[in-house]
Amino acid sequence: MMTNPTGRITQGQFSFLPDLTDAEITLQIEYGLKHGYAWSIEYTDDPHPRNTYWEMYGMPMFDLQDAAGVLMELNACRKTFPNHYIRLMAFDSTRGIESIAMSFIVNRPADEPGFRLQRQEVNGRTMRYTIQGYGADRPEGKRYGG
């Protein structure tokens, strides 16, 4: 509660800001396209910070000139998975980089329960810590209001 007042997970760019509107998302996509990035859409319902690889929604979109194409796919993804986390990622293919340059969350479930701190005592009163999401108690697909 005190560590994260809004309770929203803060992964990726712009995660401390209010949700981006579609117009703002378009501006970001145009920025990426101007730099030659390839956009892709991923979704998941497991928000653990160590969950690096989310499910892909379609292939990465290379050779696009305009943001409307990406937004078309994004709206289809929102319609299919309204209660999942959806993020847009931009892949920079210039030699020497060849990795994700931008990544931000564009859709969240309405209610994000957050994480619990799991403490484990091992030999000699040494503590091991990990975090576990409250949502992860339920099976995939049933975590956020189905």
Binding site: P18, E24, M59, M61, Q65, A67, G69, M72, E73
Partner: protein, 339 residues
């Protein structure tokens, strides 16, 4: 989230900040102002209310419409219905700007087009130019052309077509999608053909995303008529059906002259009349493909000129010799002696 709490660099300046924008003097007749104007009409009209154009002449002064129309008239020969339609679209753009300044609604017209006509009448050429024209008028955002045929839209197995067509559509957004020989999409005789699925996806995107994409179909007149009869949905979504008329002999001569100018050749003494005579005879023969036949004929003429110059090994060839086409090069054609 209706109002963002921050401003993103590159976002349009909201209308609540007119003072800062109005204090910058408007650069006279700059093309950058014209390029920005279609994207941010609200910012422009809010920023400079005193210098808002009220007449057509003032709008034309500030935009690139005139130069686009002049370039069109200069580069394309004949094609009167096409030029007339493009002039109408440009005029609507100008009037829409004036309407926007009065606060009247100005919805972009549906721009999907279908080009029909005989082979070699310039359908593909104009479609490629159309993207440029619409972009300079401000109707499409990026102005690139994605040129596809049936193979690029239709898949080979179940489930292949939809992603394939959607990929092509996404690549074409912000520009023009040019579908050549569109009637091949529809194959009624084969019930396992996936062309119909591609057509359905196209229809949906053409209707729902009119401002993002312009679709131009092209093909031969009779086959396109059959295609539209069996797909009334497609026909009704296409606002502009343009028929490309055959070129006249005079226009073909002009086209030939342009092609020669472009490749650094010139007609010699009497060669122009010889080519005119050649055209008169060739037009009446079967399989005449207008501008394409002219291009082929010019290529053959160049071959004959090369052979003629090749025969004399010791003659020093000046630039004039190398560029001039003699009547003999043209009159050696089979159309003159059909034996």
């Amino acid at each position: 989230m209706a109002n963002p709490l921050y401003s993103i660099p590159g976002a349009p300046i909201p209308a609540s900040v007119p003072a800062a924008a109005a204090s910058n003097p408007r650069p006279a007749g700059s093309s950058s102002a014209a390029a920005d104007a279609p994207a941010m009409p609200q910012a422009g009209s809010a920023a400079a209310p005193d210098s808002a154009p009220r007449t057509v002449a003032q709008v034309l002064q500030d935009s690139q419409v005139e130069s686009v129309m002049d370039a069109l008239d200069a580069d394309l020969i004949g094609l009167a219905p096409v030029k007339a339609r493009i002039r109408d679209i440009a005029a609507l753009l100008v009037i829409d700007r004036l309407r926007a300044l009065h606060g009247l609604a100005a919805q972009a017209p549906s721009l999907h087009m279908c080009f029909t006509g005989n082979p070699g009448t310039g359908k593909t050429t104009v479609a490629l130019r159309m993207a440029q024209i619409l972009h300079s008028l401000g109707y499409v955002r990026k102005g690139h052309v994605v040129s596809v045929t049936r193979d690029d839209l239709v898949g080979q197995y179940i489930g292949h077509t939809a992603p394939k067509t959607k990929e092509v559509l996404k690549k074409a957004m912000g520009g023009v999608l040019f579908i050549d020989e569109a009637y091949y999409l529809y194959r009624p005789e084969n019930e396992r053909d996936y062309g119909q699925e591609a057509i359905e996806i196209l229809l949906q995107v053409m209707e729902n995303q009119r401002d993002d994409l312009v679709v131009i179909l092209a093909g031969y007149t009779d086959r396109m008529d059959t295609f539209f009869q069996s797909n009334p949905g497609m026909s009704s979504r296409i606002a502009h059906h343009l028929d490309f008329p055959d070129y006249s002999a005079g226009e073909l001569l002009e086209i030939a002259q342009r092609m020669l100018d472009g490749t650094h050749y010139r007609f010699g003494e009497g060669a122009r009349e010889a080519f005119d005579a050649y055209l008169e005879r060739r037009i009446t023969q079967p399989h005449f493909a207008n501008a394409r036949s002219v291009r082929n004929a010019l290529d053959r003429i160049r071959l004959r000129q090369a052979s003629r110059l090749f025969a004399d090994r010791n003659r020093e060839l000046s630039a004039l010799d190398l560029t001039t086409i003699e009547p003999a090069d043209i009159l050696a054609s089979r159309v003159f002696n059909p034996s």
